[in-house]
Protein backbone atom coordinates (compact mmCIF):
# COMPACT_ATOMS: atom_id res chain seq x y z
CA UNK A 1 0.00 0.00 0.00
CA UNK A 2 2.84 2.36 0.85
CA UNK A 3 4.37 1.52 -2.52
CA UNK A 4 1.04 2.26 -4.10
CA UNK A 5 1.07 5.76 -2.61
CA UNK A 6 4.68 6.23 -3.58
CA UNK A 7 4.21 5.17 -7.19
CA UNK A 8 1.04 7.25 -7.53
CA UNK A 9 2.79 10.27 -6.05
CA UNK A 10 5.62 9.78 -8.53
CA UNK A 11 3.18 9.41 -11.43
CA UNK A 12 1.43 12.60 -10.35
CA UNK A 13 4.73 14.44 -10.05
CA UNK A 14 5.57 13.45 -13.63
CA UNK A 15 2.18 14.58 -14.92
CA UNK A 16 0.46 16.97 -12.52
CA UNK A 17 -2.59 17.10 -14.77
CA UNK A 18 -3.08 13.33 -14.50
CA UNK A 19 -6.36 11.95 -13.27
CA UNK A 20 -4.40 9.56 -11.07
CA UNK A 21 -4.81 12.11 -8.25
CA UNK A 22 -8.10 10.35 -7.52
CA UNK A 23 -6.32 7.01 -7.04
CA UNK A 24 -3.76 8.68 -4.80
CA UNK A 25 -6.45 10.35 -2.70
CA UNK A 26 -8.27 7.01 -2.40
CA UNK A 27 -5.06 5.22 -1.34
CA UNK A 28 -4.39 7.88 1.28
CA UNK A 29 -7.97 7.65 2.50
CA UNK A 30 -7.72 3.89 2.86
CA UNK A 31 -4.56 4.37 4.93
CA UNK A 32 -6.45 6.72 7.20
CA UNK A 33 -4.49 9.83 6.09
CA UNK A 34 -7.68 11.77 5.60
CA UNK A 35 -6.34 15.29 5.65
CA UNK A 36 -3.71 14.47 3.03
CA UNK A 37 -6.35 12.65 1.03
CA UNK A 38 -8.62 15.68 1.22
CA UNK A 39 -5.87 18.01 0.05
CA UNK A 40 -4.99 15.79 -2.92
CA UNK A 41 -8.63 15.40 -3.91
CA UNK A 42 -9.46 19.11 -3.70
CA UNK A 43 -6.30 20.00 -5.57
CA UNK A 44 -7.10 17.51 -8.34
CA UNK A 45 -10.72 18.65 -8.56
CA UNK A 46 -9.59 22.24 -8.98
CA UNK A 47 -7.95 21.06 -12.22
CA UNK A 48 -10.66 18.60 -13.19
CA UNK A 49 -13.94 20.00 -11.84
CA UNK A 50 -15.97 17.63 -14.01
CA UNK A 51 -14.18 14.43 -12.99
CA UNK A 52 -16.93 12.28 -11.48
CA UNK A 53 -14.55 9.75 -9.91
CA UNK A 54 -12.67 12.59 -8.21
CA UNK A 55 -15.87 13.88 -6.60
CA UNK A 56 -16.67 10.30 -5.56
CA UNK A 57 -13.35 10.02 -3.72
CA UNK A 58 -13.93 13.44 -2.16
CA UNK A 59 -17.29 12.24 -0.88
CA UNK A 60 -15.72 9.16 0.69
CA UNK A 61 -13.15 11.33 2.43
CA UNK A 62 -15.84 13.64 3.82
CA UNK A 63 -17.76 10.58 4.88
CA UNK A 64 -14.68 9.29 6.72
CA UNK A 65 -14.30 12.69 8.34
CA UNK A 66 -17.87 12.47 9.55
CA UNK A 67 -19.00 15.38 7.37
CA UNK A 68 -22.04 13.74 5.85
CA UNK A 69 -23.42 17.00 4.49
CA UNK A 70 -20.40 17.62 2.35
CA UNK A 71 -20.23 13.94 1.44
CA UNK A 72 -23.79 14.12 0.23
CA UNK A 73 -23.11 17.25 -1.79
CA UNK A 74 -20.07 15.64 -3.41
CA UNK A 75 -22.03 12.52 -4.28
CA UNK A 76 -24.77 14.75 -5.62
CA UNK A 77 -22.17 16.32 -7.87
CA UNK A 78 -21.03 12.88 -9.06
CA UNK A 79 -24.59 11.96 -9.99
CA UNK A 80 -24.99 15.25 -11.80
CA UNK A 81 -21.93 14.39 -13.90
CA UNK A 82 -22.61 10.66 -14.15
CA UNK A 83 -26.20 9.83 -13.15
CA UNK A 84 -25.51 6.10 -13.07
CA UNK A 85 -22.33 6.18 -11.00
CA UNK A 86 -22.78 3.11 -8.77
CA UNK A 87 -20.33 4.32 -6.12
CA UNK A 88 -22.23 7.57 -5.72
CA UNK A 89 -25.61 5.82 -5.61
CA UNK A 90 -24.33 3.60 -2.83
CA UNK A 91 -22.83 6.63 -1.14
CA UNK A 92 -26.15 8.48 -1.28
CA UNK A 93 -27.81 5.36 0.15
CA UNK A 94 -25.33 5.38 3.00
CA UNK A 95 -25.85 9.05 3.80
CA UNK A 96 -29.62 8.79 3.52
CA UNK A 97 -29.64 5.81 5.82
CA UNK A 98 -27.51 7.63 8.34
CA UNK A 99 -29.90 10.54 8.13
CA UNK A 100 -32.75 8.21 8.95
CA UNK A 101 -34.28 8.25 5.47
CA UNK A 102 -34.43 4.51 4.85
CA UNK A 103 -36.82 4.87 1.96
CA UNK A 104 -34.43 7.11 0.04
CA UNK A 105 -31.57 4.76 0.90
CA UNK A 106 -33.46 1.79 -0.53
CA UNK A 107 -34.34 3.79 -3.62
CA UNK A 108 -30.72 4.66 -4.24
CA UNK A 109 -29.66 1.04 -3.81
CA UNK A 110 -32.41 -0.14 -6.12
CA UNK A 111 -31.22 2.34 -8.73
CA UNK A 112 -27.67 1.08 -8.34
CA UNK A 113 -28.92 -2.47 -8.86
CA UNK A 114 -31.04 -1.50 -11.84
CA UNK A 115 -27.87 -0.21 -13.48
CA UNK A 116 -25.69 -3.12 -12.47
CA UNK A 117 -27.69 -6.12 -11.22
CA UNK A 118 -24.45 -7.95 -10.42
CA UNK A 119 -23.32 -5.37 -7.84
CA UNK A 120 -22.93 -7.65 -4.85
CA UNK A 121 -22.25 -4.91 -2.32
CA UNK A 122 -25.50 -3.19 -3.24
CA UNK A 123 -27.36 -6.51 -3.20
CA UNK A 124 -26.10 -7.37 0.26
CA UNK A 125 -26.84 -3.92 1.60
CA UNK A 126 -30.35 -3.97 0.19
CA UNK A 127 -31.08 -7.47 1.44
CA UNK A 128 -29.89 -6.83 4.95
CA UNK A 129 -31.68 -3.48 5.09
CA UNK A 130 -34.93 -5.17 4.11
CA UNK A 131 -34.30 -8.10 6.45
CA UNK A 132 -33.03 -6.32 9.51
CA UNK A 133 -34.94 -3.11 9.37
CA UNK A 134 -38.47 -2.86 8.02
CA UNK A 135 -39.11 0.26 5.99
CA UNK A 136 -41.31 1.97 8.54
CA UNK A 137 -38.94 2.35 11.45
CA UNK A 138 -35.32 2.94 10.56
CA UNK A 139 -34.48 6.16 12.33
CA UNK A 140 -30.80 6.15 13.21
CA UNK A 141 -29.56 2.60 12.71
CA UNK A 142 -26.26 1.98 10.95
CA UNK A 143 -26.56 0.96 7.32
CA UNK A 144 -25.82 -2.76 7.48
CA UNK A 145 -23.40 -3.21 4.66
CA UNK A 146 -19.96 -4.52 4.06
CA UNK A 147 -18.57 -2.58 1.12
CA UNK A 148 -20.33 0.74 1.16
CA UNK A 149 -18.07 3.66 1.90
CA UNK A 150 -18.21 3.21 5.62
CA UNK A 151 -16.06 5.56 7.67
CA UNK A 152 -12.80 4.11 8.93
CA UNK A 153 -13.76 5.10 12.44
CA UNK A 154 -17.47 4.86 13.19
CA UNK A 155 -19.14 8.23 13.20
CA UNK A 156 -22.15 8.71 15.44
CA UNK A 157 -25.33 9.18 13.49
CA UNK A 158 -26.77 12.67 13.58
CA UNK A 159 -29.55 12.71 16.16
CA UNK A 160 -32.05 14.78 14.22
CA UNK A 161 -31.20 14.13 10.61
CA UNK A 162 -32.63 16.92 8.53
CA UNK A 163 -32.67 20.06 10.65
CA UNK A 164 -29.19 19.82 12.10
CA UNK A 165 -26.71 22.16 10.42
CA UNK A 166 -28.09 25.42 9.14
CA UNK A 167 -24.99 26.52 7.24
CA UNK A 168 -23.68 23.43 5.50
CA UNK A 169 -27.06 22.27 4.29
CA UNK A 170 -28.14 18.84 5.46
CA UNK A 171 -30.58 17.99 2.73
CA UNK A 172 -29.14 19.51 -0.38
CA UNK A 173 -30.38 16.94 -2.85
CA UNK A 174 -33.97 18.01 -2.97
CA UNK A 175 -35.01 18.42 0.64
CA UNK A 176 -36.83 21.73 0.54
CA UNK A 177 -38.19 22.47 3.98
CA UNK A 178 -41.05 24.93 4.34
CA UNK A 179 -39.24 26.63 7.15
CA UNK A 180 -38.75 30.07 5.60
CA UNK A 181 -35.42 31.82 5.29
CA UNK A 182 -32.65 30.52 7.55
CA UNK A 183 -30.19 32.54 9.59
CA UNK A 184 -27.24 33.30 7.31
CA UNK A 185 -24.79 36.22 7.20
CA UNK A 186 -26.77 39.39 6.39
CA UNK A 187 -24.56 40.32 3.45
CA UNK A 188 -27.28 41.80 1.28
CA UNK A 189 -29.19 43.81 3.87
CA UNK A 190 -30.53 46.90 2.19
CA UNK A 191 -31.25 45.02 -1.06
CA UNK A 192 -34.81 44.25 -2.07
CA UNK A 193 -35.79 40.73 -0.91
CA UNK A 194 -32.25 40.19 0.35
CA UNK A 195 -32.89 36.76 1.88
CA UNK A 196 -35.49 35.54 -0.60
CA UNK A 197 -34.08 36.34 -4.04
CA UNK A 198 -30.28 36.67 -3.68
CA UNK A 199 -27.98 33.75 -3.11
CA UNK A 200 -24.21 33.56 -2.72
CA UNK A 201 -22.56 30.13 -2.96
CA UNK A 202 -19.11 28.62 -3.32
CA UNK A 203 -17.72 26.62 -6.22
CA UNK A 204 -18.79 23.32 -4.66
CA UNK A 205 -22.40 24.41 -4.48
CA UNK A 206 -22.45 25.25 -0.76
CA UNK A 207 -24.47 28.26 0.40
CA UNK A 208 -22.43 31.20 1.72
CA UNK A 209 -24.97 33.96 2.22
CA UNK A 210 -28.36 35.26 1.16
CA UNK A 211 -31.25 32.92 0.52
CA UNK A 212 -33.78 31.73 -1.99
CA UNK A 213 -37.40 31.02 -1.14
CA UNK A 214 -39.87 29.11 -3.29
CA UNK A 215 -43.28 30.75 -3.92
CA UNK A 216 -44.69 28.65 -1.04
CA UNK A 217 -42.08 30.08 1.31
CA UNK A 218 -39.89 26.95 1.41
CA UNK A 219 -36.15 27.59 1.58
CA UNK A 220 -34.72 26.19 -1.66
CA UNK A 221 -31.27 27.76 -1.25
CA UNK A 222 -29.41 24.49 -1.00
CA UNK A 223 -31.11 22.82 -3.95
CA UNK A 224 -30.48 25.92 -6.03
CA UNK A 225 -26.86 26.17 -4.92
CA UNK A 226 -26.10 22.54 -5.74
CA UNK A 227 -27.54 22.96 -9.24
CA UNK A 228 -25.88 26.30 -9.89
CA UNK A 229 -22.40 24.96 -9.27
CA UNK A 230 -23.00 22.85 -12.39
CA UNK A 231 -24.08 25.90 -14.40
CA UNK A 232 -20.91 27.70 -13.42
CA UNK A 233 -18.72 24.79 -14.52
CA UNK A 234 -20.59 24.53 -17.80
CA UNK A 235 -20.25 28.28 -18.44
CA UNK A 236 -16.51 28.15 -17.78
CA UNK A 237 -16.09 25.23 -20.14
CA UNK A 238 -18.17 26.88 -22.85
CA UNK A 239 -16.25 30.15 -22.61
CA UNK A 240 -12.95 28.32 -22.68
CA UNK A 241 -13.77 26.17 -25.72
CA UNK A 242 -15.17 29.09 -27.69
CA UNK A 243 -12.14 31.22 -26.74
CA UNK A 244 -14.39 33.86 -25.18
CA UNK A 245 -12.20 34.56 -22.15
CA UNK A 246 -13.72 34.59 -18.68
CA UNK A 247 -17.53 34.64 -18.44
CA UNK A 248 -19.16 37.54 -16.60
CA UNK A 249 -22.87 36.91 -16.42
CA UNK A 250 -25.56 34.52 -17.48
CA UNK A 251 -29.07 35.85 -17.82
CA UNK A 252 -31.91 33.37 -18.09
CA UNK A 253 -35.38 34.66 -18.95
CA UNK A 254 -37.91 32.14 -17.72
CA UNK A 255 -41.71 32.00 -17.55
CA UNK A 256 -42.09 33.43 -14.08
CA UNK A 257 -38.75 35.08 -13.27
CA UNK A 258 -35.50 36.31 -14.71
CA UNK A 259 -32.31 34.89 -13.26
CA UNK A 260 -28.86 36.46 -13.28
CA UNK A 261 -25.85 34.32 -12.41
CA UNK A 262 -22.39 35.87 -12.01
CA UNK A 263 -19.01 34.76 -10.68
CA UNK A 264 -17.74 36.69 -7.67
CA UNK A 265 -14.05 36.79 -6.78
CA UNK A 266 -12.32 33.48 -7.20
CA UNK A 267 -14.80 30.65 -7.18
CA UNK A 268 -17.91 32.13 -5.56
CA UNK A 269 -21.13 32.51 -7.49
CA UNK A 270 -24.05 34.91 -7.18
CA UNK A 271 -27.64 34.21 -8.15
CA UNK A 272 -30.22 36.96 -8.35
CA UNK A 273 -33.86 36.23 -9.13
CA UNK A 274 -36.09 39.09 -10.28
CA UNK A 275 -39.72 39.19 -11.30
CA UNK A 276 -40.48 38.99 -15.04
CA UNK A 277 -41.89 42.50 -14.80
CA UNK A 278 -38.46 43.99 -14.11
CA UNK A 279 -36.62 44.77 -17.37
CA UNK A 280 -33.58 42.57 -17.95
CA UNK A 281 -31.30 45.61 -18.02
CA UNK A 282 -32.46 46.64 -14.56
CA UNK A 283 -32.08 43.11 -13.25
CA UNK A 284 -28.49 43.14 -14.54
CA UNK A 285 -27.76 46.43 -12.77
CA UNK A 286 -29.28 45.11 -9.58
CA UNK A 287 -27.12 41.98 -9.86
CA UNK A 288 -24.03 44.08 -10.54
CA UNK A 289 -24.61 46.00 -7.30
CA UNK A 290 -25.15 42.78 -5.37
CA UNK A 291 -21.95 41.40 -6.87
CA UNK A 292 -20.01 44.40 -5.63
CA UNK A 293 -21.41 43.94 -2.15
CA UNK A 294 -20.69 40.21 -2.16
CA UNK A 295 -17.17 40.78 -3.42
CA UNK A 296 -16.43 43.26 -0.63
CA UNK A 297 -17.88 40.90 1.94
CA UNK A 298 -15.83 37.94 0.63
CA UNK A 299 -12.66 40.02 0.77
CA UNK A 300 -13.50 40.86 4.37
CA UNK A 301 -13.83 37.12 5.04
CA UNK A 302 -10.32 36.62 3.69
CA UNK A 303 -11.70 34.67 0.73
Amino acid sequence: MADDVRSLTAALARDPSSLRYADLAESLRRRGQRDEALRVALHGLARHPRHADGHDVLARIYSDLGDLDRAQLAWGKVLELAPEHPGALKGVAFVRFRQGDARAAVEALERALAIDPSDEAAQRALESMRRDAPMADLPTAELPTAELPTPVAPVPAPPVPAAASPEAGAGSAGAARPSGAKARPAVFSGFDRATADILLLDERGLVLAGGLLAPNGADVSEVAAAGLAGVSGEAARTAQHLALGGWRTIVAEAESANLVVAPVGSGALLLVRRDRSMPVGLALRFAERARGTASTWLEGQGA
Binding site: R50, E80, L81, A82, P83, E84, G87, I115, D116, S118
Partner: protein, 155 residues
Protein backbone atom coordinates in the same frame (compact mmCIF):
# COMPACT_ATOMS: atom_id res chain seq x y z
CA UNK B 1 -16.26 2.33 -13.30
CA UNK B 2 -13.56 0.04 -14.58
CA UNK B 3 -10.59 0.76 -16.74
CA UNK B 4 -8.79 -1.83 -18.84
CA UNK B 5 -5.70 -0.77 -20.70
CA UNK B 6 -3.87 -3.18 -22.98
CA UNK B 7 -1.59 -0.52 -24.44
CA UNK B 8 -0.55 2.06 -21.80
CA UNK B 9 -0.12 5.00 -24.21
CA UNK B 10 -3.90 5.06 -24.65
CA UNK B 11 -4.76 5.55 -20.97
CA UNK B 12 -4.44 9.31 -20.46
CA UNK B 13 -6.21 10.35 -23.68
CA UNK B 14 -8.97 7.84 -22.89
CA UNK B 15 -9.58 9.07 -19.32
CA UNK B 16 -9.62 12.65 -20.50
CA UNK B 17 -12.15 11.86 -23.21
CA UNK B 18 -14.44 10.01 -20.81
CA UNK B 19 -14.33 12.93 -18.38
CA UNK B 20 -14.86 15.63 -21.00
CA UNK B 21 -17.63 13.87 -22.87
CA UNK B 22 -19.39 12.44 -19.77
CA UNK B 23 -19.65 9.18 -21.70
CA UNK B 24 -20.65 6.01 -19.87
CA UNK B 25 -18.41 3.62 -21.75
CA UNK B 26 -15.60 4.12 -24.22
CA UNK B 27 -13.91 1.23 -25.98
CA UNK B 28 -10.78 1.68 -28.10
CA UNK B 29 -10.21 -1.26 -30.43
CA UNK B 30 -8.49 -2.49 -33.54
CA UNK B 31 -10.45 -2.86 -36.79
CA UNK B 32 -10.56 -6.59 -36.00
CA UNK B 33 -12.55 -5.79 -32.84
CA UNK B 34 -9.79 -6.46 -30.33
CA UNK B 35 -9.93 -4.18 -27.30
CA UNK B 36 -6.89 -1.94 -26.68
CA UNK B 37 -8.40 0.08 -23.83
CA UNK B 38 -11.77 0.51 -22.16
CA UNK B 39 -13.20 2.79 -19.51
CA UNK B 40 -16.69 2.92 -18.06
CA UNK B 41 -19.53 0.73 -16.89
CA UNK B 42 -18.20 -2.30 -18.66
CA UNK B 43 -19.98 -4.76 -16.40
CA UNK B 44 -23.30 -3.75 -17.87
CA UNK B 45 -22.14 -4.65 -21.39
CA UNK B 46 -20.68 -7.78 -22.96
CA UNK B 47 -17.51 -6.03 -23.98
CA UNK B 48 -16.23 -8.70 -26.38
CA UNK B 49 -19.50 -8.92 -28.27
CA UNK B 50 -19.90 -5.13 -28.30
CA UNK B 51 -16.41 -4.72 -29.74
CA UNK B 52 -16.91 -7.36 -32.42
CA UNK B 53 -20.20 -5.74 -33.44
CA UNK B 54 -18.80 -2.20 -33.28
CA UNK B 55 -15.88 -3.15 -35.50
CA UNK B 56 -18.27 -4.87 -37.87
CA UNK B 57 -20.52 -1.80 -38.13
CA UNK B 58 -17.55 0.45 -38.88
CA UNK B 59 -16.24 -2.03 -41.45
CA UNK B 60 -19.65 -2.37 -43.07
CA UNK B 61 -20.31 1.36 -43.24
CA UNK B 62 -16.82 1.90 -44.65
CA UNK B 63 -17.51 -0.65 -47.36
CA UNK B 64 -20.86 0.97 -48.04
CA UNK B 65 -19.12 4.34 -48.35
CA UNK B 66 -16.88 2.92 -51.06
CA UNK B 67 -19.91 1.58 -52.89
CA UNK B 68 -21.28 5.10 -53.23
CA UNK B 69 -17.95 6.59 -54.10
CA UNK B 70 -17.04 8.04 -50.67
CA UNK B 71 -13.64 7.48 -49.14
CA UNK B 72 -15.25 6.89 -45.77
CA UNK B 73 -17.64 8.45 -43.29
CA UNK B 74 -16.52 10.57 -40.36
CA UNK B 75 -18.54 9.10 -37.56
CA UNK B 76 -21.91 7.52 -37.11
CA UNK B 77 -24.28 7.37 -34.23
CA UNK B 78 -27.51 5.82 -33.10
CA UNK B 79 -29.78 7.46 -30.58
CA UNK B 80 -31.86 5.23 -28.32
CA UNK B 81 -34.37 5.87 -25.56
CA UNK B 82 -31.77 5.85 -22.77
CA UNK B 83 -28.43 5.38 -24.47
CA UNK B 84 -26.78 6.44 -27.68
CA UNK B 85 -23.69 5.12 -29.39
CA UNK B 86 -21.03 7.00 -31.34
CA UNK B 87 -18.72 4.99 -33.57
CA UNK B 88 -15.74 6.32 -35.44
CA UNK B 89 -12.46 5.18 -36.89
CA UNK B 90 -9.24 7.18 -36.80
CA UNK B 91 -5.84 6.68 -38.43
CA UNK B 92 -2.87 6.61 -36.03
CA UNK B 93 0.78 5.56 -36.32
CA UNK B 94 -0.37 2.34 -34.58
CA UNK B 95 -2.71 1.71 -37.53
CA UNK B 96 -6.42 2.44 -37.85
CA UNK B 97 -8.29 2.32 -34.54
CA UNK B 98 -11.99 2.27 -33.77
CA UNK B 99 -13.66 4.09 -30.90
CA UNK B 100 -17.05 3.00 -29.57
CA UNK B 101 -18.66 5.49 -27.18
CA UNK B 102 -21.82 4.70 -25.24
CA UNK B 103 -23.47 7.76 -23.71
CA UNK B 104 -26.60 8.61 -21.76
CA UNK B 105 -28.94 11.55 -21.34
CA UNK B 106 -26.52 13.54 -19.18
CA UNK B 107 -24.56 14.46 -22.31
CA UNK B 108 -25.42 14.78 -25.99
CA UNK B 109 -24.20 13.45 -29.29
CA UNK B 110 -22.97 16.96 -30.07
CA UNK B 111 -20.69 17.01 -27.02
CA UNK B 112 -19.51 13.45 -27.56
CA UNK B 113 -18.64 14.14 -31.19
CA UNK B 114 -16.93 17.41 -30.25
CA UNK B 115 -14.68 15.80 -27.66
CA UNK B 116 -14.17 12.74 -29.85
CA UNK B 117 -12.26 14.98 -32.26
CA UNK B 118 -9.90 15.99 -29.45
CA UNK B 119 -9.57 12.35 -28.41
CA UNK B 120 -8.69 11.25 -31.94
CA UNK B 121 -6.03 13.98 -32.16
CA UNK B 122 -4.60 12.90 -28.79
CA UNK B 123 -4.50 9.28 -29.97
CA UNK B 124 -2.64 10.28 -33.12
CA UNK B 125 -0.07 12.11 -31.00
CA UNK B 126 0.32 9.35 -28.42
CA UNK B 127 0.26 6.19 -30.53
CA UNK B 128 3.61 4.55 -31.20
CA UNK B 129 4.38 3.10 -34.63
CA UNK B 130 3.82 -0.62 -35.05
CA UNK B 131 7.02 -2.43 -34.27
CA UNK B 132 8.57 -5.79 -34.99
CA UNK B 133 7.76 -8.10 -32.18
CA UNK B 134 10.08 -10.22 -30.11
CA UNK B 135 9.02 -13.85 -29.67
CA UNK B 136 6.21 -13.87 -27.11
CA UNK B 137 5.69 -17.51 -26.29
CA UNK B 138 8.23 -20.10 -25.30
CA UNK B 139 8.91 -22.64 -28.05
CA UNK B 140 7.54 -25.48 -25.98
CA UNK B 141 4.11 -23.87 -25.73
CA UNK B 142 2.40 -26.90 -27.27
CA UNK B 143 2.32 -28.92 -24.06
CA UNK B 144 0.50 -26.00 -22.43
CA UNK B 145 -1.86 -25.73 -25.40
CA UNK B 146 -2.71 -29.45 -25.28
CA UNK B 147 -3.39 -29.28 -21.58
CA UNK B 148 -5.47 -26.10 -21.87
CA UNK B 149 -7.62 -27.44 -24.70
CA UNK B 150 -8.10 -30.78 -22.95
CA UNK B 151 -9.36 -28.98 -19.88
CA UNK B 152 -11.51 -26.73 -22.03
CA UNK B 153 -13.21 -29.64 -23.75
CA UNK B 154 -13.17 -31.77 -20.63
CA UNK B 155 -11.32 -34.64 -22.30
Amino acid sequence: MTTTVVEPWAEQPLLRYVTESSARLVVLMTPAGQVLAQHGWARAVDLMAASALGAAIVAASGALAQQIGERGFGALFHAGERHGIHLASCATPRGALIVLTVFGKETSIGLVDLFYDEFAAALRRAAPAEQLREPVLAEDFEADLNRSLSTLFQR
